[in-house]
Subunit: 341 residues, 2 copies
């Protein structure tokens, strides 16, 4: 790390060195056609010999575009979850946008503060999740954002573009499946019901019961937090009841580990003692013994849609009203569910 002594070279240094005007250097940098080959080469030689690097800050200043896209997600290290971010990053990189990734811990204060920081940085577009789709402050912040914004896995705020997995259908499929095996006491774990995924999952769960002419035990719906600790504690508590659930549907995308840890500690075998469905697929679900039945959707497609929608807004290709893209969810049946004993 060579601590730089003097200031860096500017376009004016290049101009002086190549004996041309600053405007000419700018045109060379931007591949403007009206530069003779001779001059262009002279400028390029000067750039190379000085080791000049264009200053994106100054460029943004004048052009009022930063070519930055900000993305804020709940948490980085949710296995598999980040795949959609990866795909989005790929697309933005290809379109020559710098991708700025931040995590929010699902915390409203962090979300608001990030949104503000993004605005101050004048990023060209934002892709994010928010913790609560009903919070007036969050709604206002999202709606009044000065840059195009795409919400991920959120559905309610109609005035912005959205991409969401069809969690209602997913939860319906999972619950249908468990009901068809004969389960009636099916525990449902979801996060805070204020955001779309949890709300939709609860709806899908209820849909399935209703369609079967049954009524779910409301005390088995545990909607509070997405954290692993929560899932661990709740699983442990539920399984100690006199009439424990015969099946557990851990609907949050990263809840499986918490539930498995609790079941392991309680000495309960998945499949034999209790059936388990995971709301998100992962290596853990696939490679456990027995392998865990899980809900699955095309995460890359989600990222692709989000990135494409955002790019269309940022570049002005689209001025149509905001829309919501829904990604289908399907159930991968493995070995973790059997009829209750």
């Amino acid at each position: 790390m060579v601590k730089k002594a003097g200031r860096e070279f500017t376009i004016r240094d290049v101009a002086r060195s190549a004996e041309v005007a600053v405007g000419t250097v700018s045109r060379v940098l931007n591949d403007h056609p009206s530069v003779t080959r001779d001059v262009r080469e002279r400028v390029q030689r000067a750039i190379a010999s000085l080791g000049y690097e264009r200053n994106a800050v100054a460029q943004s200043m004048r052009s009022a575009r930063t070519h930055m896209i900000a993305c804020a997600i709940r948490d980085f290290d949710i296995p598999g979850y980040v795949s959609y971010v990866k795909e989005a990053e790929r697309i933005f990189r290809a379109a020559d946008y710098t991708f700025l990734l931040a995590s929010t811990a699902n915390d409203k204060a962090v979300e608001l503060s990030l949104l503000r920081k993004f605005a101050q940085r004048r990023v060209d577009g934002v892709m994010m999740t928010i913790s609560d789709e009903n919070d007036p402050e969050l709604i206002a912040a999202v709606e009044q954002a000065k840059m195009p914004l795409v919400l991920i896995d959120r559905e309610m705020i109609q005035s912005v573009d959205r991409v969401a997995a069809d969690h209602r259908s997913g939860a319906r499929q999972a619950t249908d499946y468990l009901l068809s095996l004969g389960h009636r006491r099916i525990a449902l774990f979801v996060g805070d019901p204020h955001a779309h995924p949890s709300r939709s999952r609860i709806a899908g769960y209820r849909d399935a019961f209703r369609a079967a002419g049954l009524e779910p035990d409301p005390s088995l719906i545990r909607d509070h937090s997405l954290s692993n600790e929560f899932t661990f504690r709740e699983t442990a508590a539920l399984m100690q009841r006199p009439e424990p659930p015969t099946a557990v549907f851990v609907a949050g995308i990263d809840m499986l580990a918490g539930a498995m840890r609790a079941l392991k500690a309680a000495g309960l075998a998945i499949g034999r003692d209790v059936s388990v469905v995971s709301g998100g697929d992962s290596d853990l679900a696939e490679l456990s013994t027995p392998a865990i039945t899980a809900l699955q959707w095309d995460r890359a497609e989600m990222g692709r849609h989000a990135a494409q929608m955002l790019l269309d807004r940022v570049t002005g290709r689209t001025t149509e009203p905001p829309r919501c893209v829904r990604v289908p969810v399907s159930l991968v049946v493995r070995e973790s569910c059997r009829p209750p004993r």
Copy 2:
């Protein structure tokens, strides 16, 4: 997403509205002491009523500091790996730096291009991994970076700060353990041996054999790629040999899934038919049946060190020569290893 019509308000609009000079507004924004309460309040009212947001681009332009830290890592979705990034982000956020996260796919071209983009954006500091510590182009790019830079899990380039887990010791412990159980044909899977982790792991593996007065079978050292597909294929191929290994040490941080998939497909039971040690701990390792013995280190501490070292450089608190912080690695013994049959 309200598409903004006119241009945004500037400090001059605020000045006009509050009937003060632009310099005064700037002073209010930066909490400069020499502003009377009266004027400060008038300016703040104007800011609020206009909905003015400070333009970080213009600010960076003048101050030559962007308050951005860039981070480039191999891949976002390596379970657990990202914990150190999370911790670093937390620290940078607390210090009022914006964190810019990118992935490189362990690809030299991407690494070089990102480093260049970071330079153009004039980020204040960089935290990253590189695919090959011996590549002259990469070395040059890292050494000539105009901003402070910390390498993660790389050791060789002495002219920059580094934070690395002690993979040599980790591999030594894992191999010692397998040797002590009586294994002799121990397959080792690592990534490209040009980067520190793989090189160190191979060294640790050899150390253990040498200390036991044994010679490892070189054909069992599979150093080529970190990808899951590679691990899958190699595991499958090795287990089909006439004399297959009795133990597999998947030393890469995210190789376990690939190996497990191959063993499952081959109908081999971990523990009974083949012993397995994972080079990185994860939910998958902990919750598999049997639970997988794995190497572990404090990832948050790694992130903390990296962030702190970088901040010290960025803020000029440190001008001492670059150093390398080594994070200890330990072996968590679980149930996946038994003496060979």
